[in-house]
Symmetry: C2
Subunit: 199 residues, 2 copies
């Protein structure tokens, strides 16, 4: 990892059976963020990483609205988060709202792949962040109607998730239950439970 990377003891590295790449093994969704701020250049690199995801018909249905900590915009986004996410996200360097465009530009039909394609773009962002030594935490726990109103979304835009971004800090700086969540090892189902070969 680069010189910007986090001390290893703060990273919840996945214990994999197969030779999964480091970026994926080291990506996780932390809650303890340090004071250190991100800059525009790093943010733009995340967004460009997102932009090179695949999408159905190269439609690129992803949109992002973001704000840096310490601004009114950050406060507005933070107030769209639910009670579970507010106690730790206030220390994030950046909050991002991930939004999808629900219709296809060229024919105005519903884009059935919008959520899927936004997911691919978001995954690119998260791995790009790990490569630069910081982390993204996607959240489903927010108020979509409030976010819609805050951002002034139109009828063809829909909030997908919110994302907290920042450099890692010590888990002990969190209150419970977030401290325990922060140090609990990551777990996943075995591949035999979700992948099946047909012959």
């Amino acid at each position: 990892m680069s010189s910007q990377s986090t001390p290893d003891h703060l990273i919840k590295e996945a214990q994999t059976i197969h030779p999964v790449i480091d970026l994926i093994r080291r990506r996780w969704s932390p809650r303890s963020f340090s004071e250190r701020m991100l800059d525009e250049e790093r943010l733009n690199t995340l967004f460009e990483a997102a932009s090179w995801a695949a999408s159905s018909g190269n439609e690129q249905p992803w949109q992002y609205v973001y704000a840096f900590r310490g601004t009114e915009g950050f406060s507005k986004l933070w107030h769209c988060l639910d009670d579970g996410n507010r106690p730790w996200t206030f220390k994030a360097s950046v909050l991002i709202a991930s939004v999808k465009r629900t219709i296809i530009e060229r024919n105005q039909k519903v884009n059935a792949w919008a959520s899927h394609d936004v997911g691919m773009a978001n995954a690119h962002m998260f791995l790009q962040a790990v490569s630069m030594g910081f982390y993204c935490h996607p959240m489903a726990g927010f108020y979509p109607d409030k976010l819609r109103e805050t951002l002034g979304l139109d009828e063809f835009q829909e909030p997908v998730c919110m994302i907290a971004v920042g450099y890692l800090d010590d888990p002990d700086k969190l209150d419970e239950p977030n401290r325990t969540k922060e140090i609990t090892p990551r777990t996943r189902k075995g591949i035999d439970t979700f992948a099946r070969k047909i012959t």
Copy 2:
């Protein structure tokens, strides 16, 4: 890249403005696949890479059904593809059906993030493949009802996309219009068109 990697002239590397990681710059969705077959170990590595994606409530709503070229299973999956995708996918080493579980296991409610989270898992697969020198091409062009019947999906499973996987071959081995698509440079919208800062 590893010793298994593809000759550089076959890779449509993204020309980026910001320092996006090589894996993302080199990921694309090819149509010209060589005779070389993948093995179970590489496939399992893809699936494990997928499994370490984030998901809402760690629900992991992704499922994959796959078949190797030369098997009846491959033929069944291939027949679920539409006319646009059949002329080149028959040479893929593996075809994968990406399926989502639509409800949350612990409470049986609809999982509004299923498509998004499957997208994140799929993006992991595609980047893992690039790291190992082969490529994945996700497709929206398939017959969902036929796929559903072929796979025997239940009411809580839904096809998301199909994926062709294999090592690259020369674009000239493709017929038109696929040959032209294969050599056309990749393009994306500028980040100023989809990312917006609020202050």
